[in-house]
Symmetry: C2
Subunit: 142 residues, 2 copies
């Protein structure tokens, strides 16, 4: 069995963390407005968490969605928990734009050939700040 | 603006419903173990719902995940709220199997050429029954 990459490393630039989870900005070449909310423990499915842990994780996913909407004004937010290759609970929170390389298809479809959308300078810092306001119990990074 | 298909129709075979949402089984040729949890009202994003409505929707998504795990024993559950083409809140709850046409890629990637996995006869009826037990306040269909 191969090592779990989300146990071994942060998985992106830390934006927010608490004892149970972390929010990171992912370096995705085609979709720069891409965050993940990663459960700290190696747990496979949402229904392997107890209901209160599940609710906490979703609260942070939705805070991330809200902060990304405020900072990036996307056409749509895409949320997904897949984990077929890396069965360690993590939520994709992706800002989608009408002229991004896959819109309106999911980011996992074949790309259209369009270039990545440019995002405003400093958006990650703005997102980190907004998450600190929305989730005052956490820290700026793991 | 085109009509919204999730306002106009059920979007699948009804398995469970209440005043705010419905669970349907989707006829997907490559992924027969595919359900959707659809908000009854035409709302775009999770963060457009108030927190209690959001929590109720996720409770039903996770009940659907749990019932699908019990009835179908998939290798992994995939959850996603995308809605780029149909911006009416709906969650995909997909049972994934190691020999399904896309595993371990997302179902939106290019298919491998493998055939759909055969599911046990009567799985939709078993799922409907299990949802009625997990969510006693609802009805069997919209």
């Amino acid at each position: 069995m191969r090592a779990c990459e989300l146990c071994a490393g942060d998985g992106g630039e830390p934006l927010h963390a608490d004892a149970t989870l972390r929010v990171v900005a992912v370096d995705d070449a085609l979709h720069p407005g891409f965050c993940r909310v990663i459960w700290q423990q190696h747990v496979r499915e949402m229904t392997d968490l107890d209901p209160s842990a599940r609710a906490h994780l979703m609260q942070v996913v939705f805070a991330t969605e809200q902060a990304m909407r405020e900072v990036l004004a996307p056409a749509k937010i895409n949320l997904a928990s897949l984990g077929n290759l890396t069965p360690h609970l993590h939520w994709h929170v992706i800002a989608r734009f009408r002229d991004d390389p896959h819109f309106p298809a999911p980011v996992w479809a074949a790309p259209s050939g369009r270039a990545a959308v440019a995002l405003p300078a400093g958006w990650r810092a703005a997102l980190r700040q907004r998450l600190a306001e929305l989730l005052p119990g956490g820290a700026a990074g793991p």
